[in-house]
C-alpha cells in the first residue's frame, strides 16, 4: 500500500469525506452498543432524539454548544498561527473568575453595559493567562504544549482555593460555590422555560466575526502567514513574535468567554464543575472543523449533540454515557484520516 499526494481534490470528496467518516464511526461504535446489550438502531434513535429530538433536547444541546464554540474558536485561531494552546480549560476558568469577581456586586451597571463589561474583563483575564506561556515560548523557546496544559491545573487549583476559601458563598449551605452573579449581569434567556441564554447568539456572532477577521483583516493575514510558513513570513518582514502574542491574547480571550457564558448564563454562579472539560473538547471541535471558524459552529453542535444524546441514550438503553467520549474521539480520528485522504490517494498493489 502506498500513499501518494493528489494534485487536485474533487469537491465531492472534500464534502463527503467527513460525512463518511462519521458514518463509519457510528458503525464502529455499534459494536460497543451491542456489547452493552442494547439494540443498535433504537440506541442511535434515542441518541439523536436526545440531542435534537425535542425542544428541550435541542435547547440543551445549544446550551452545551455555546461554550464549545468559544473554546473551539480559541483553539482554531491559535492553531492557525501554530500556537499550540492546550490551555483553553485554564483560560475558561480565568474568564469565569473575572466574571465572578466583577459580576457579583463589585460593579453595578445597567444590564446592557454590565454584560459586555463582564465579557471584556473575562477575555482580558483569559488572554493574560495565555500570555504567560506565550511569552515563555517567544522569548525563551519553552514548549507551549506543556506550559499551557500545566497552567490548566494551576487555574483549577486557584478556583478550588477561592471557592473553598475567601470566595465561598455563605448562603450556599456549605457547597464550594461562588456568590451569584447579580441580576444585571445575567445573560437573558432566549426561550422561556429552557436554560438557553444569549451567550449562544454572542458565540455565533463571534464565530462569524472571527471568520471575517481571519480572511479579511491585516492581523488575520499575519496570523495565517505566520502559521502557514513562518520562514517565509519572517523573510517577508512580517513580525512573528508580535503576531503570535496578539493571537495568544485573542485565543485566550475567546476561551475565557466560555467561562463567562457558563457563570453568567448557564449556571449563574461559579462552581468547581462549571466546565466538564470544555477547554479540551474545544480542541477536538476545532480539529473537526478544520480550524475554520464557521466550521466550529457545526462541529460544536455535533459534539454537544453527541454528549447530550449519549446522556439520554444511557438513561433509556442502559448504555454507559462514556459512549459519547468514544464517539467524539473516534470521529476526531476518522475525520482527520478522511481529511488526509482528501489530500492523498491510496494505491494498492
Amino acid at each position: 500500500m502506498l500513499l501518494e499526494p493528489r494534485l487536485h481534490t474533487p469537491l465531492w470528496v472534500t464534502i463527503s469525506a467527513p460525512i463518511a467518516a462519521v458514518a463509519v464511526v457510528l458503525i464502529l461504535c455499534s459494536g460497543l452498543i451491542i456489547w452493552a446489550g442494547a439494540p443498535v438502531l433504537d440506541a442511535y434513535i434515542s441518541l439523536i432524539n436526545g440531542a435534537f429530538g425535542s425542544r428541550f433536547a435541542l435547547s440543551e444541546t445549544l446550551v452545551r454548544a455555546t461554550p464549545l464554540i468559544f473554546t473551539g474558536l480559541a483553539a482554531a485561531v491559535a492553531f492557525r498561527a501554530k500556537l499550540w494552546n492546550i490551555g483553553g480549560e485554564g483560560q475558561l476558568y480565568m474568564g469565569a473568575l473575572a466574571a465572578t469577581y466583577f459580576g457579583t456586586g463589585l460593579v453595578d451597571l445597567p444590564s446592557f453595559l454590565l454584560i459586555p463589561f463582564l465579557f471584556i474583563v473575562g477575555a482580558l483575564a483569559g488572554g493574560a493567562w495565555l500570555l504567560i506561556p506565550t511569552l515563555l515560548k517567544t522569548q525563551l523557546k519553552v514548549d507551549e504544549v506543556v506550559t499551557t496544559l500545566l497552567l490548566n491545573f494551576v487555574a483549577l487549583l486557584l478556583v478550588n482555593y477561592l471557592l473553598f476559601g475567601p470566595w465561598k458563598d455563605p448562603l450556599a449551605m456549605g457547597w464550594p460555590q461562588g456568590a451569584p452573579i447579580i441580576d444585571d449581569g445575567i445573560l437573558p434567556t432566549l426561550i422561556a422555560k429552557t436554560r438557553l441564554h444569549g451567550g449562544l447568539i454572542f458565540a455565533v456572532v463571534t464565530a462569524f466575526g472571527m471568520w471575517v477577521f481571519m480572511k479579511y483583516s491585516r492581523w488575520g493575514f499575519e496570523t495565517r502567514a505566520v502559521g502557514l510558513n513562518p520562514d517565509a513570513a519572517r523573510f517577508a518582514g512580517i513580525p512573528i513574535t508580535k503576531t503570535v502574542i496578539r493571537t495568544a491574547l485573542i485565543s485566550g480571550g475567546l476561551a475565557a468567554c466560555a467561562g463567562v457564558t457558563e457563570v453568567a448564563g448557564t449556571k449563574g454562579y461559579l462552581t468547581l464543575d462549571i466546565s466538564p472539560g470544555f477547554g479540551y473538547t474545544g480542541i477536538a471541535v476545532a480539529m473537526l472543523a478544520g480550524l475554520n471558524p464557521l466550521g466550529v459552529i457545526i462541529a460544536a453542535l455535533f459534539v454537544a449533540g453527541i454528549y447530550n444524546g449519549a446522556d439520554s441514550m444511557s438513561r433509556a438503553m442502559d448504555v454507559s454515557n462514556y459512549i459519547a467520549d468514544v464517539i467524539t474521539a473516534a470521529s476526531l480520528l476518522l475525520v482527520l484520516l478522511a481529511v488526509m485522504l482528501t489530500r492523498m490517494r491510496i494505491r494498492w498493489r
Binding site: 502506498l2 501518494e4 499526494p5 493528489r6 494534485l7 487536485h8 479579511y216 483583516s217 491585516r218 492581523w219 493575514f221 495565517r224 502567514a225 502557514l228 510558513n229 520562514d231 517565509a232 513570513a233 519572517r234 523573510f235 517577508a236 518582514g237 512580517i238 494505491r347 498493489r349
Partner: protein, 514 residues
Amino acid sequence: MDTDIVLKVDGITKRFGNLAANDGISFQLEKGKVLSLLGENGAGKTTLMNIIFGHYMADEGRIEAFGQELSASSPAEAIKLGIGMVHQHFTLSENLTVLDNIILGTESLWHVTQAKAEARKRLAHLSSEFGLKVDADAAVSSLTVGERQRVEILKALYREARILILDEPTAVLTPQEADQLFATLRDMVARGLSIIFISHKLHEVLAIADDIVVLRHGKLVAAFPAASASRKQIAKKMVGQTIPEPKRSEYLPGNVLLEMTAVHVLSEEKRPVLSDVDLTIRQKEIVGIAGVSGNGQKPLSDVIAGLVTPISGSVKLRGETITEFTPRAMVQKGIGRIPEDRHEQGVIGDFTVAENMVLEKYGDPEFSRFGWLKLTHLKGHAEKLIKAFDIRGAGTETAVRGLSGGNMQKVILSRVLDNNPEIILANQPTRGLDVGAANFVHEQLFKAREEGAGILVMSEDLEELLAVSDVIIVMYHGQVSKPIPVDDVTLQELGLLMSGDGFVAGHSEARDVA
C-alpha cells in the same frame, strides 16, 4: 536471452492528476555501463528514479532488474534486487557515526547485539576496493559534503548494489571533487557495476556517460550512445528548440551602492560563519558569488536580506551605515530580495498569488486601511503583475502551491521588482527552473541592471555565474576572495579558489554547515 542487460524499463507511465510526469518511457541499462538521464528540471527524471527505487508506483509499464520483475514498489525490494540510490539530498543521520549510518537498517530488529566488527571489516574492504576513503568512526556531522557523498555511495555498496542511481551528484561538489567522483564511478563500472547518472549539466554527462537518454516533458525524446553525441545536439533535444540566451550590455559600473567592510557574523551556536568580509556592489553591476554550498553564502545573504545582524564591521548603503537589520528595514531601504529557497522562504504555498505578491507590503496604505485589507487593490495589483511577468496557469486567487517552479519564481520576482529596488539580492535565482524560465529571470535581472540596479547573484551553477556576472567573488569558509572580473577568470581557477586555495588559513571553523 541477453544477460548483459541489468535493468529494463518498459513503457513506464506515471500521472499526477492530469499531468503525465512520465509517459511511456522505455530504456535498458547494460552491465558495466554508465547511462545518463538528461533533462531539464521538471522533465520527469526524479519521478522515474523514484519509480525504479520503489518510492512511487507506476500507472503503467514494468521494470525488470537482473531478469526479475520489480513488483512490490518498495525501496526494500529495490535494494534486495541490487539497486542502490544516492539521493540529491543526503539521507544520513547526522548524530551517528559513518559506520552506524552504513549498517542502519541492514540488521534485524530482533538481534540484541550488532555484528559491528564484521561490518567494520566489510566497510574497510569496500572502502579500499573502490578508493572511497572514510573514517568509519567519524560523526557524520563532522564530514564535508564530498565525504558525505562517499558515505552515501558506500551505503549503497554495503547493501550489495549492482546498479547505482546517482541523482545530481555533482551539485554540491567543486569541479575537482567532481573529477574525483568521476574517477570513482569509472572504477566501479570497470568492476562490473552499472550506473544511472542523473544530471542537467551537459559537460559532465559527456565526460562520464556511455549512453544518453534525454527526457522532456515526461517523454523520452532521444536515446543514443554518448560517443556519437555533440553538445549542441543534446542541448537541442533537451530544450526542444534553441532559445537564444539573453545578452547583457557593456559593463559600466556607476556609484557604490552597498559597501560591506570587515563584516563578521556568528551562527546561532556562536561559531563564526562570516569572517572579515569586504564586499562592494555598484550601480549597473552584477556581482556573482561562487563557492561550494555552506561556505558562508547563506549568512552573507541573510545579512543583506535583514535576517541576521553582524557582530562587527559595517554595512553601508549609499554611504549611510545600516543599524537595523530587519527584513522590513531592508525592503524600505530599497533592497529587493530573492530568497534561496522558493518554497521555504519565498512564498507561502497556501496563500493566493495576490496575497503572496503583497507579502512585503500588505500594510501599505495602498493595500490596507483601518486594519482591513483592500481586496480589490490586492487583486488589481496581482492582475497587473501577472500580465507584466507573463505568469501562466494562475489567476489572482490561485494558491501558489499549484504553480510550476518557474511561475512561482516569477511571482517572487514580480514582488521584488515591482518595488524598483536599487539593490537586488538574487540567491539561486534559477535553481530548478527550465531554460526558458531561467532566461526570463536573467533578462529581468539584466533589465534592472541597465536601469541602474546593483545585483548580487549567488548560485551553485558556475556556468550561470559566468554567464550573468560582471565580477565574481569566491567564498570559502566564511571568507571572500578579491573580486575577479568575469573575463579574466577560468573554470579551473574558480575550482581552486572554491577548494580553499589562496585563502588565509586559521578561519577553518567558519562554515555554515558543520
